[in-house]
């Protein structure tokens, strides 16, 4: 009990963050957060009550006479019966509360922005479908959403089961091969929320993260337009060389940089890779150094991932990292 009272403030204080169920930033997460506290408080009260009764039972002087013991036994029977009835009521109440929360969360939102998310070992492919096909946007490892508007994420898996979870915005939903799931949520405040794969998916399950960037609708539209453009042209000789290396080496077989000859789609689309906050599925912040480190030795950073170590000379590596940094 003492410990619990010590831990409770810790629970309240230390738990906000950019990947936390206790720091809700959207209506779904808020509903869940409310439900969480309802359950937590109810359960804590019950636990405390049980512990108090236990304590009292231990410290209590047992009935001295046989008659007193029998009376106590009868009383206990009534109390136990009452407690069981109370349990039934509490359970029914909590079931109803969780049913209401489910209904609130899973209500259909016809005007929602649709985003398709496909889980790969160990990265995420993000598609923004559009009735006009050339406005379809394909990107990876970062979802941008407008604030205040519901979004529906359609979830699919390319290989094994993954699970999409942005705790600050809503609960998780699995991505299962051969099945389609979806998740509707709204972000109310601008911000970057970290999401992580929540179903064990193999070697690099630990490094399969994604960032959800909620921004005002205008900023979102700006981002969308910018992402639809082809890759920016190299601006100096080094970047030009980097583009040449990227097109002629193994990079182009797996990655797309729209506007160049690189049109592979085995790995994430790199057309605007430098505009994303992180590379390697939320692993490293996007800097020229981290891009170079990643290209130079992906298997040391994320052992077992599907990007091989392509042998490049130091100059080629420099050039490629310069060009990739240009891809904003």
């Amino acid at each position: 009990m003492k410990r619990a009272s010590r831990l409770l403030p810790l629970l309240l204080a230390g738990c906000s963050g950019w990947q936390s169920a206790l720091d809700p930033r959207g209506p779904s997460a808020q509903d869940l957060h409310g439900l969480f506290w309802l359950f937590t408080i109810t359960c804590t009260v019950i636990w405390l009550a049980v512990m108090l009764v236990l304590l009292a039972a231990l410290l209590r002087r047992p009935p001295a006479t046989k008659g007193a013991a029998e009376a106590a036994g009868r009383r206990s029977a009534r109390v136990v019966g009452g407690a069981v009835a109370a349990t039934v009521l509490v359970v029914a109440g909590l079931t109803f509360a969780s049913y209401l929360a489910t209904r609130a969360i899973s209500s259909d939102q016809p005007e929602a922005l649709v985003i398709r998310l496909r889980g790969y070992q160990w990265w995420w492919e993000v598609t923004y479908p559009h009735e006009q096909p050339d406005q379809t946007l394909l990107t990876a490892n970062e979802i941008h959403i407008p604030t205040g508007r519901p979004v529906r994420i359609e979830l699919a898996a390319a290989d094994v089961i993954h699970s999409f979870w942005v705790p600050n915005l809503t609960g998780k939903q699995d991505m299962i091969p051969g099945r389609s799931n979806s998740l509707v949520f709204t972000a109310e405040k601008p911000g970057t929320y970290r999401a992580q794969c929540a179903e064990f998916c193999g070697l690099q399950h630990a490094h399969m993260a994604l960032h959800v960037v909620a921004e005002p609708p205008e900023a979102f539209e700006r981002w969308r337009t910018a992402q639809l453009a082809e890759a920016p042209a190299p601006e100096d000789a080094e970047e030009e060389e980097g583009r040449r290396v990227l097109e002629s080496k193994a990079c182009a077989a797996c990655h797309t940089v729209r506007g160049t000859e690189a049109a592979g789609n085995l790995g994430p689309d790199l057309t605007h890779v430098a505009s994303r906050r992180f590379i390697a599925a939320g692993m490293l912040p996007t800097t020229r150094g981290s891009l170079a480190a990643w290209v130079a030795d992906p298997q040391s950073i994320k052992p077992g991932n599907n990007m091989p170590m392509v042998s490049l000379t130091a100059d080629e590596l420099q050039a490629v990292s310069a060009y990739l940094t240009r891809l904003r």
């Binding site: 738990c15 206790l22 359960c43 049980v50 236990l54 047992p62 998780k172 051969g178 099945r179 929540a198």
Partner: protein, 637 residues
């Protein structure tokens, strides 16, 4: 002539106590040394062997847990790579569930059920021996594979398609699936034995309402085993067929379904939790009266709660699948049923509280474990109510919150009672008592270590830390708490080590125990510590639920059993009226050879499906040997 007749059918009625004991000892005797080791069918020897093996696996699994805590103690630690980490957490989970928790609970049942029922041996004792060897082989297969870097790395739940042929190359997942087969066979064998023993071998007069609650718990557990295990048999067989033969049970492109695996697995996997928990409930119900010096409060509600839990256990497997996108109606149903399990659990808790309320506590080590159980299990049960709610589960599913929850339920709800049980019944295994002083230390270390290790994991889970990650990035706010958890896990480990040290030391040099050192009420205390191979010189007759308390010192006995062949008393199912005499098989090495043959078949079938065909020949040969009449008095009857 009359001499010969007497030789063939000598009854215990004809003999006095001393002569009877020597004749019984000769009949039920197991040869010493290696021969006896491999041939014995004595349920007590097999149970002790089972318990020791299970605790060895507990320690091995614990070492793996410490390795995981070491790796997670700081962000991006490079001590253990993802490949090894995945093997470690898979082997940890599989070991704890399949090689420790289930077997150890069944083993305590094998030890105590015949003693509590007042019979001489368990039903089907050779099957019992076979069960142990198969269990041991399954454990060795898993651990030898792990040592050889072929340990399964797909999680103890082995979800397809990750564990399927495309994404899990090599033999790792096959090892896991075949290990399941071994433990399934072992568990099913014991379940059948216990069901039959409970139904037909009870002491005369032990009607259904006088059966000790631990026996009731094992009885319900055995039914759960018998009903739940086939699901995982189907699942793991389908997985092996998919992987080795190229069938398409789980291949959506050819009409299979990846979610089918989860349904099958959890249809077993959730009852599995109750297979572990129900015996623990029985232990509490049987130990608690001794330490509050009064009979259990609410025998009937407790029995009904056991049965209710056993039935409900099959109605809530879907709560492991709340995030797979099932229909909302189904989710609501399973939310309700998952929460409903709180009702029988509540009944049990309230009855125990009332028992304590009405009794006078005796502060010995088993009672301390029971108090630790109350503290942790109630907490774990309540987080279970949270996890049962679909919307909340979407936030906490597959996070450290769930890790914390089920360790509270399984360690708090099952391991603490188990440790209480081992301490309590230690004298029936070794004839000695465990050290009270060391026992108190280990209770304290375990209780504090456990809570400080696992309580923060709730918070880690809510802070977004998923399960089964081999590391986490430094910019995530999990580092401090993980370090704290890792440090506290050392205290927990120390508690277990102290317990084992205490057990080992006390087994050699502990204080010698009398027949009934705790002053308990049930039949296992009516014989010596440790009991003789035939358990009871004469079969006791039961006239109440607490025979040793209600009948004072001397129990009435039933007689008429043959002494020159192994013979048991069969009683009626409901009233336990004597019905027949039945022989119990003699020692045999054939169960051991059958286990070897089965092991060879199962291990080789990992490499070629044809092994099932040719491997079944030696199995058939050993089974023929097993059942071949050998002209012993038992065969004559």
């Amino acid at each position: 002539m009359s001499e010969a007749l007497e030789q063939r059918d000598l009854r215990d009625t004809a003999l006095d106590e001393v002569l009877l004991e020597s004749r019984l000892a000769r009949t039920w005797h197991t040869p010493p040394g290696w021969v006896g080791f491999f041939t014995t069918v004595d349920h007590k020897r097999i149970a002790v062997r089972y318990i020791v093996t299970a605790f060895a696996f507990l320690l091995l699994g614990g070492v793996l847990a410490l390795l995981m805590r070491l790796q997670l103690s700081r962000p991006e630690a490079g001590l253990i790579g993802p490949d090894l980490y995945n093997q470690i957490f898979t082997v940890h989970g599989s070991t704890m569930m399949f090689l420790f928790a289930v077997p150890v609970m069944e083993a305590v049942g094998v030890l105590l059920v015949p003693l509590m029922l007042g019979t001489r041996n368990i039903a089907f004792p050779r099957l019992n021996a076979f069960s142990y060897w198969i269990y041991l082989a399954g454990g060795l297969v898993l651990w030898v594979a792990f040592v050889l870097d072929v340990g399964p790395d797909v999680g103890w739940f082995a979800y397809v398609p990750l564990s399927g042929p495309q994404y899990s190359a090599g033999k790792r997942a096959d090892i896991w699936a075949q290990m399941i087969t071994f433990t399934e066979i072992a568990a099913l064998a014991i379940a059948v034995e216990i069901v039959v023993t409970v139904l037909k071998q009870r002491a005369p007069g032990m009607s259904l309402d006088r059966i000790p609650l631990f026996v009731w718990a094992m009885f319900v557990t055995s039914f759960v085993v018998i009903l739940a295990m086939p699901a995982v048999v189907v699942a793991s067989t389908a997985l092996i067929l998919d992987r080795l033969v190229g069938t398409h049970f789980f291949n959506p492109a050819e009409g299979g379904d990846a979610l089918l695996w989860q349904h099958l697995f959890w249809f077993f996997g959730h009852p599995e939790v109750y297979i572990i928990f129900l015996p623990a409930v029985g232990m509490i119900s049987s130990i608690l009266p001794t330490f509050v010096r009064r009979p259990i409060f609410g025998y009937l509600p407790l029995v009904l709660a056991l049965i209710g839990t056993g039935i409900l256990a099959f109605g809530l497997w879907v709560h492991h699948m709340f995030t797979t996108g099932l229909p909302r109606v189904g989710e609501s149903f399973f939310t309700a049923s998952s929460m409903a399990i709180a009702v029988p659990s509540g009944v049990q808790i309230f009855c125990w509280l009332a028992t304590i309320w009405l009794g006078r506590p005796v502060w010995r080590v088993p009672f301390l474990y029971i108090l630790a159980f109350f503290f942790t299990f109630v907490l774990g049960g309540l987080t279970g109510v949270m996890v049962a709610s679909v919307p909340l589960d979407t936030q906490v599913h597959d996070t450290y919150f769930v890790v914390a929850h089920f360790h509270y339920v399984l360690v708090g709800g099952a391991v603490f009672p188990l440790l209480a049980a081992v301490t309590y019944w230690f004298s029936k295994m070794t004839g000695r008592m465990m050290s009270e002083r060391l026992g108190r230390w280990s209770v304290a270390l375990l209780f504090i270590g456990f809570n400080f290790t696992f309580f923060p994991m709730h918070i880690l889970g809510l802070q977004g830390m998923p399960r089964r990650i081999y590391t986490y990035q430094a910019d995530l706010p999990w580092g401090g708490m993980n370090l704290f958890v890792s440090l506290c896990s050392l205290a927990l480990a120390a508690g277990f080590l102290l317990f084992v040290w205490n057990a080992l030391r006390s087994a050699r040099a502990g204080e010698a125990a009398g027949d009934n050192p705790w002053g308990a009420a049930t039949l296992e205390w009516a014989t010596s510590s440790p009991p003789p191979p035939y358990n009871f010189t004469r079969i006791p007759v039961v006239r109440s639920a607490n025979p040793l308390w209600d009948d004072g010192g001397a129990l009435p006995v039933a007689s008429g059993l043959s002494v020159n062949r192994r013979e048991l008393l069969i009683t009626t199912t409901a009233e336990a009226r004597p019905e027949a005499r039945e022989t119990s098989p003699r020692d045999s090495a054939w169960p051991f050879w059958a286990a070897i043959a089965t092991t060879i078949m199962l291990v080789c079938s990992i490499f070629t499906p044809w092994a099932v065909v040719w491997g079944s020949i030696p199995v058939a040969v050993t089974l023929v040997g097993w059942f071949w009449p050998r002209g012993t008095p038992e065969d004559d009857s």
